[in-house]
Amino acid sequence: MDPLEIARWQFGITTVYHFMMVPLTLGLGAVVTGFYIAYIRTNKPEYKRMTKFWGKLYLINFIMGVATGLVQEFQFGMAWSEYSRFVGDVFGAPLAMEGLLAFFVESTFLGLWIFGWDKLKPKIHAACLFMAVAASWLSAYFIIVANSWMQHPVGVEMVDGRPVLNDVWAVLTNNTAMVAYPHALAGAVQVAGGFLVGIAWYKLWKRRRDGVDTIGENGKVVVGQQVEGARDTTDFTVWFKSLRIGAMVGLIGFLGTAFTGHSQAQLMIEQQPMKMAAAEAACHDGTGFSVLSLSSPGAQNCDEVQAILEIPGLLSFLAYEDFTTNVAGITTLMPIYEETYGTHLPDDPELYGERAGSEIDYLPLMEVTYYGFRGMITLGGVSALSFLYVLWVTRKKGEGTVPEAKWISNLAIAGILAPFGANILGWVFTEMGRQPFVVAPNPDGNPAILMFTAAAVSPGVSGFEILFSLVSLALVYAALMVVEIYLLAKYVKAGVVAAMPELVEDPHQDDHDDRDVLAFAY
C-alpha cells in the first residue's frame, strides 16, 4: 500500500467534505445576521421568522463544519509530518492565529447567540451573532493565507534547508491570498444565495400546491392563510423575501467570483504558469471550447488568456493557440521547470520512499484541471442565470409568486447544489493543479523553496494506518451527510414553526407559565 496515494485521497476527501459546510456557514451566517439586524431596526415579524428559521438551518450545518474542521488541523501532523516539519516555521502561525483570534470568538459568541434569546438585550444579542459571523470570515482569511503560502511562498528565507519566516506581513498580504480570499468569500455568498432560493422557491410552491395561495382572475397572487403550522400571510412574506434576497445575494456572489477569478487567473499565469497552462490547454480547441464560450460566462476566461497575452515574457507560450499545438505551451514550460527544479526527485528513500530518484512530471492531471476549471465556471454561471430568472419571475411586488410547475420546484432544490459544486471544483482545480508540488515554487523567489508532495507524507506512518483512517472517516462522513440532509429536509418541510414553536404552541398548555423555562435548550 502506497501511503502517499492514500494520504492524498484522504486529504482530498476530508477537505472537499469540510468545504461543503464551510461556504454555507460563511454565506448563510452573513445573511442571517442581516435578517436579524433588519428585524431589530424594523420590528417586522417576517424578519424575526427569517432569522429564526434560516438561523436554525445555519446551526445544523455549522456543527458539521466544526466537527470536520478538527480533522483538517490534526491531519497535517498525522499524515503529513514531513510537510509539517518543513513548513512549520511559517505555516503553523496562521493556523494558530486562526484559533486564537478567530475560532475562539466564533465559537464563544455563537454559544451566546444560540442560548442568549430573551437573556441578552436584542442589540447585544445581535452583536454576538455579528461577532461570530465576522470571526468566521476572519477565520477563512487565515486559512486562505496558509493555503496561499503553499501556492506562492513569500516572506521566508532558507535556513538549514527549511523555509524560515522573515516577514510575516509578506505572508499576511501575499497577493495570492488577497485575490483568493475574496474569491472564496464570493463563492460562499453565492452558495448562501442558492440555498435561500432553492428552499424559499420550494416553500412558495408548496403553499400554492396546498391551495394556501391562489392566483386571482386578474393574474395576481391571492395570499391565503392556513392555521395549521402557522402558514399565514406573514409566512408568505418570509418565503417571498427570502427568495428575492437569496437571488440578489447569489448574484452579488457570482459577480464577485467572476471579477476576483479574473484577477486570480492573471496572477496564476505569473505564479504557477503550468497550472494555468494545464487549465487552459484545451481552451482554443475547436468545439469543446466554443460550446463553453457560447453557453456560459466561462467565455470570459478565454478573453483573459487574450488579455494576458500582453504580459511580456509569457507571449512565447501563449502564442500556441489551439489544443494540438497548445501542448507546445506546456512543452515550452516543461524544459524551464526541469532546468530550474530538476528532472528527477532526489535519490533519498528516507524522504521520497519508493519515488526516490524517479522522474518528475510537472504537468498536473489535465482532465482534472481542464474540466474542473470549466465545471466551476459552468455551475457558477448556470446558478447565476437561475437567480436572474427568479428576480424576473418575482419582479412585481404583491403580484407574483412561483409557477405551479413541480419540475421547476424540483429543479430549484437541485440548483442548491450548483454553487456547492462550483466551490468544490474550484478547490480541486487549484489544489490538484499545484501538483507535483505541495509547496509550489515562487518564480520570483528562491527556487529552493519548494516541496514535492512525494516528500510530504509522514515517513513513520504505514499505508495500513492511513487506509484505516481514510475508510473510517469516509464512512463516518457519509453517514453524517445523510443525517445532515435528513435534518435539513425535516426542518425545511416543517417550515418556520420548526424554529418558532411559540407560533403554534399554547404556553399555558405545554409549559406552566409560573415556570421560568429557558428560551432555548438543546
Binding site: 490534526f74 513513520g460 494506518e465 443525517v483 418541510k493 414553526v497 429557558l518
Partner: protein
C-alpha cells in the same frame, strides 16, 4: 529554584509555557464538560429530563471550551512544529479514534434534540457520553506519552509499528484524564444545577473524589520522581493542598469554592507535569540524542516573536469574553427550566394560536 531556566533559550521557554497554558486551559474547561458528557450515560442520569438538563448546563460553553484543544494543537504546530509532527504522526491510530469521537460528540450535542424519537435520542446520547469518555482517555494518553516519551528515531519518526505507543503510560494518562473529567463534571453539575440531581452529584463527588484523582496524582508523582525539579515539586505540593482544600470545601457545602479549588488542582498538577518535562517536549525512549527539546523542536525566534504579539493581544481578550459567557449563563438550572421537547414535523401539524 529557577536556575534550570538559566541555560535555556528564552522565547522557546515562553512558548513552552504558552502551549502548556492552552493544554491546561483545555483540560480544565473541556475537562468539566467532557465529565458532564460522560454523566449523561444512564449510570448517572436517571431520565430524559435529567439528561437534557445536564446537556444544557454545558450547552452555551462547550464549543468555546473545545477551541482550547484546537488552539493547543495549532500553537504546538506554530511554535514547535517538530513536536507537533512527531507526536501526531506517532499516535496516528489513537488520534483517528479521537477525531471520530470529537465528531460524534459535537454533532450529537447539536442533533440530539432535533427529532423526538427514542432511538434517535438514545443513539446520540451514546455518541455524547461514549465520545466524551474516548476523548478524555485519548487526550490524557497523548499528554502522558509526550511526557514519558515515544520510540522515535533521529528524524523524529516512530519506530516499531502502528502500536508502538501501547505502554502503561497510556493507561495512566487515559485514566487520569477520565478521572479528572468526572470529578470536574460532578463538581460542575453540583454548582450549576439545583434539586435532586445537585445533591446526587455532590454526594457522589465526595465519595469518589479520592479514587478519581488517584491516577492523575500517580502521573504527576511519576514525573516528579523521574525528572522533577524544585519548582515542579513546589507545584505538586500546591496541587496537593488544592485537592485537600477542594475536598474540605465541598464537604462543607461550598460548591463554588470547591470547584475553584479543583480547577486549581488541575492547573498546578498539570503545570507540575509540564515543568518536570521541560526542557524536553517529547523524549525518545530509544536514544537520548533523539529527544525533542524546546530548542530542537521550536520555530525561529522571529516566528515566536510574532506569535508572542498575537498571544499578548489575543489571550487577555479571550479570557475576558469567555468569562463573560460564564457570567451570562451563571444561573443554576433545574429540570423545570427545560422546555418540552418537540418534534418539528409534529409542530407543523398544530393549529396556530
Amino acid at each position: 529554584m529557577f536556575d534550570f531556566f538559566a541555560d535555556q533559550p528564552l522565547l522557546p521557554t515562553i512558548w513552552f509555557a504558552v502551549v502548556g497554558f492552552f493544554w491546561i486551559g483545555y483540560i480544565t474547561l473541556d475537562g468539566f464538560d467532557l465529565g458532564v458528557g460522560m454523566l449523561m450515560s444512564r449510570l448517572f442520569a436517571k431520565n430524559e429530563k435529567e439528561r437534557r438538563l445536564l446537556l444544557n448546563t454545558i450547552g452555551p460553553v462547550w464549543d468555546g471550551n473545545e477551541v482550547w484543544l484546537v488552539t493547543a494543537g495549532a500553537a504546538t504546530f506554530a511554535a514547535f512544529p517538530l513536536w507537533y509532527a512527531s507526536l501526531f504522526s506517532a499516535l496516528y491510530i489513537p488520534l483517528t479514534l479521537t477525531l471520530i469521537a470529537l465528531i460524534f460528540r459535537a454533532v450529537g450535542i447539536e442533533y440530539r434534540g432535533k427529532k423526538d424519537s427514542a432511538r434517535w435520542i438514545a443513539g446520540w446520547n451514546l455518541a455524547i457520553s461514549l465520545g466524551s469518555l474516548v476523548i478524555a482517555f485519548m487526550i490524557g494518553a497523548l499528554l502522558a506519552l509526550t511526557s514519558t516519551g515515544l520510540p522515535l528515531n533521529a528524524n523524529g519518526d516512530r519506530v516499531g509499528g502502528a502500536f508502538a505507543w501501547v505502554t502503561p503510560a497510556v493507561l495512566m494518562g487515559g485514566l487520569a484524564m477520565v478521572g479528572l473529567s468526572l470529578v470536574m463534571g460532578l463538581a460542575f453539575v453540583a454548582l450549576k444545577t439545583d434539586g435532586e440531581i445537585r445533591h446526587r452529584a455532590h454526594t457522589l463527588l465526595l465519595r469518589l473524589l479520592p479514587l478519581l484523582l488517584l491516577p492523575v496524582t500517580g502521573w504527576v508523582l511519576y514525573l516528579q520522581f523521574t525528572s522533577g525539579k524544585a519548582l515542579s515539586w513546589a507545584f505538586t505540593v500546591v496541587a496537593a493542598i488544592a485537592a485537600v482544600g477542594a475536598w474540605t470545601l465541598l464537604k462543607a457545602g461550598h460548591e463554588g469554592k470547591g470547584f475553584a479549588a479543583l480547577a486549581s488542582f488541575t492547573v498546578f498538577g498539570v503545570s507540575a507535569i509540564f515543568l518536570a518535562l521541560y526542557p524536553n517536549v517529547l523524549p525518545s525512549t530509544l536514544n537520548e540524542a533523539h529527544h525533542l527539546t524546546i530548542s530542537s523542536a521550536s520555530s525561529s525566534d522571529y516566528t515566536l516573536t510574532v506569535m508572542s504579539w498575537v498571544a499578548i493581544f489575543g489571550v487577555p481578550i479571550l479570557l475576558i469574553y469567555q468569562s463573560w459567557t460564564y457570567w451570562v449563563f451563571r444561573q443554576r438550572l433545574t429540570v423545570d427550566h427545560i422546555p418540552t421537547a418537540h418534534d418539528v414535523t409534529e409542530l407543523a401539524r398544530r393549529i396556530s394560536k
